[in-house]
Symmetry: C2
């Protein structure tokens, strides 16, 4: 099965999506409202999602591993959330005021994440990370923030550095050219080189912010010693240690990934899962740090760090969905995390064995319910950071994901890691492995066979 | 009725809110998730909102003129939106993919706003304005952006300049100190001085961005000649003219405020109303400009302006609520805008007459369904910009709004303008005027009587 024949198969199944896309390019630049949602020849258009399935405008059904940018740990429209939302939509979607349900969600997060002595709800992850570095600068009175190469914290201007390959080039046009003056990028999972770079800017360094698992950058868990080393360096030098847990929070256990490893970050950002499928960002931090954002106690501009704004912050729909989700996760934490972590192991091990059996050099990365297959090349033998990912056979990965989608009704957003939710089961993973084997047996991987 | 006795009245009615707030300060800095939602002695906590009413945790009912940061032009949870949401919550809240309903909403906006040749959905207004200036810089290859003093475009780092009084001081701590290097702030409604300032930075000026009605800054419509003068200056000098219509879009007519006045901005930002009460931001622009953000045609980092990102962008819940709202507004445009604009006139004229009859020097600003009373002082005789607002008797305004809330069950977020929605009627405005008269007759304005 060649790329061409896969394309015609896809096109045959997606006539209405083609029409929708042709219309869509006259409305949106590139026909989409999120750059990574485009894939060739055109993305299918969804008109319904339920549990593990996406349904498109042609009546195709896909088993979804993209799961709303990995946010939907209970699947699409889980009954437990829908029931609460059904009530809340009748009782207000946007109070614009203090409200009781935000206290419930806030309390739940506070209790389950040690760092979260105080927290602030906002509307997107991008806002949460922007606020984190603003607070870090306010508290330390220093200016430089450090992120990892390939680290993705949303496209706020402050953190738009070294996100996409080639990492040393500006993140697109439209910047002043000065944004990078106060951002230092360090190589992920390389403690020695990272510390050297941190040392070089130590005197003006406000914080280190990173994802404990590189998400968009390629599903790469940080070596625990890398995280501990950075944390220890930060503590020793009065630099704030910030973990972006927008993807990882409540993904592997009920709470943060960092608390599972007994890390002690000064701030944590959350999003995705804690919104229960509705827009959210959360900034959590130690009390001594977060108090700089208290507008009641800091009554003038020389004292306060402004992290407010946001018409939709702590809106009751998001708060309701988030609270219903966390409440359910909390009550079933043992069975849920056991299940999805085990399914993740099954997927990773199964894929590893398959690709190896057929002599394809791959590395299946991930942990718990997150996983991604990387196709190795002459240039890269091991995936430990985003640069390795950039040098892997991304075309091969794209073909693999596209073949899963076009021929087998299994959806990964091409190139992006998959997320297993409570709605997936052993049969789904078996289907994924079977489909993968069929794809391997077809000729689309010919090029990358060693 | 003194401030003290108003406070005790409020406290008597809001025992449960007091408890909720005392709890809330241990969860959130200042007990809130949006700075302006705090007011003294503590904000009431809402647990339900329907049509024109907010209901708090003590069972109090308020007629709401804050209306979800002025977003809810059809009131809280209008049936027309609830019905569609009730279906959509069962069919997916977050597809994470291209979807048909975003095409519907996009098409509707495109048809009703001439500038909107192409548009991008994002999740908050703050993201939309951040993307607008990024695109302006990309297209013009210039760096400076110009905003108005007191203009509020969300708390993204790029536009955090001259928002709060005193305007010349940094917007809080936590900035590098360099953010202002590429932002020029001009005096609102003063064309001559504005042009002089623009002239001084003309060679590196990418865009002028402003609200056609200063919203958070004090409900002050721009003089139409001010807008025309700025637009004309921009066109003459190849500077992009950007209107932030997050508050004004679909507020006075079915479309943008600017198209009503035959203005021709290069880009427009939308939010609030077009999300139907759910999180949204929209960047609309001319095709020639917006195409720089097309990720399909611009395949390398030297070409593309990244305005994507955003897990929740074009999520189907927001798209559904927004489309239901615009569809209803469109079908009933004449009666709806006639009604709310007329009620606005009634409120403004009624308040003007009242305050004048009682010898209180006020200026009631606004247009259409937006209005705000300013209490004049020795220092300010007329309100034309945010500096005038800062010099007015803000304590008096706060007392007035608090008295309406505590004694008369009428809610304005203290100091902020009111918005009339389709759920308000003549009786509500009469009640507002009656309540205002009673408050005037009490002694809370003693201090500011002339």
């Amino acid at each position: 099965m060649t790329r061409d024949s896969l394309n015609s198969l896809y096109e045959k199944k997606t006539h209405n999506s083609k029409k929708a896309y042709d219309n869509s390019v006259n409305i949106f630049p590139g026909g989409i409202s999120h750059n990574i949602r485009f894939f060739k020849p055109y993305p299918f258009f969804v008109n319904k999602a339920k549990d593990k399935h996406l349904f498109d405008v042609d009546g195709n059904k896909f088993v979804d591993y993209w799961m709303g940018h990995w946010a939907l740990v209970l699947g699409h429209s889980p009954t437990i959330v829908v029931k609460k939302l059904a009530r809340q939509i009748r009782q207000g979607t946007l109070y614009g005021t203090a409200n009781d349900i935000s206290v419930n969600l806030g309390e739940t997060i506070k209790k389950s994440i040690p760092t979260s002595e105080l927290l602030r709800f906002c509307t997107t992850g991008s806002e949460a990370t922007m606020y984190a570095i603003r607070i870090a600068r306010a508290v330390t009175k220093k200016r430089i923030i450090c992120k990892t190469i390939g680290g993705w914290h949303g496209f706020n201007t402050d953190l738009m550095q070294s996100v996409n390959y080639p990492f040393e080039i500006d993140e697109g046009v439209g910047m002043t050219g000065r944004e990078g003056d106060f951002v230092e990028s360090i190589p992920y999972n390389d403690l020695d080189r990272s510390i050297k770079l941190l040392d070089s800017v130590k005197d003006d360094l406000a914080c280190v912010i990173l994802e404990p698992i590189l998400g968009g950058g390629g599903c790469i868990p940080a070596d625990i010693n890398y995280l501990r080393g950075l944390e220890e360096y930060c503590k020793r030098n009065d630099i704030l240690f910030v973990l972006d847990e927008i993807v990882t929070g409540f993904r592997f256990n009920f709470g943060s990934y960092s608390s599972f490893y007994h890390l002690d970050p000064d701030m944590i950002t959350l999003g995705k899962i804690v919104g229960g499928g509705l827009p959210i960002g959360v900034l959590c931090g130690k009390k001594e740090i977060m108090k700089v954002a208290n507008p009641v106690e800091n009554t003038n501009k020389e004292q306060i760090c402004y992290i407010g704004g946001g018409t939709f912050s702590s809106n009751p729909l998001t708060m309701t969905a988030g609270y219903a989700t966390l409440d359910y996760l909390s009550q079933n934490r043992k069975s849920i995390y056991n299940k999805i972590n085990r399914l993740g192991d099954m997927a990773r091990n199964g894929l590893r064995k398959l690709f190896s059996d057929y002599g394809l050099r791959t590395q299946v990365t991930g942990i718990g319910s997150l996983f991604l297959t990387h196709f190795l090349t002459d240039k890269v033998n091991e995936i430990t950071n985003a640069s390795d990912v950039a040098l892997s056979d991304i075309q091969g990965l794209t073909r693999y994901h596209f073949a899963l989608m076009a021929k087998h009704g299994i959806f990964f957003l091409p190139r992006k890691m998959g997320a297993i939710s409570t709605v997936h089961d052993v049969k789904d993973i078996k289907n994924l492995l079977n489909a993968t084997e069929k794809i391997i047996k077809s000729d689309i991987f010919l090029k990358i066979k060693t």
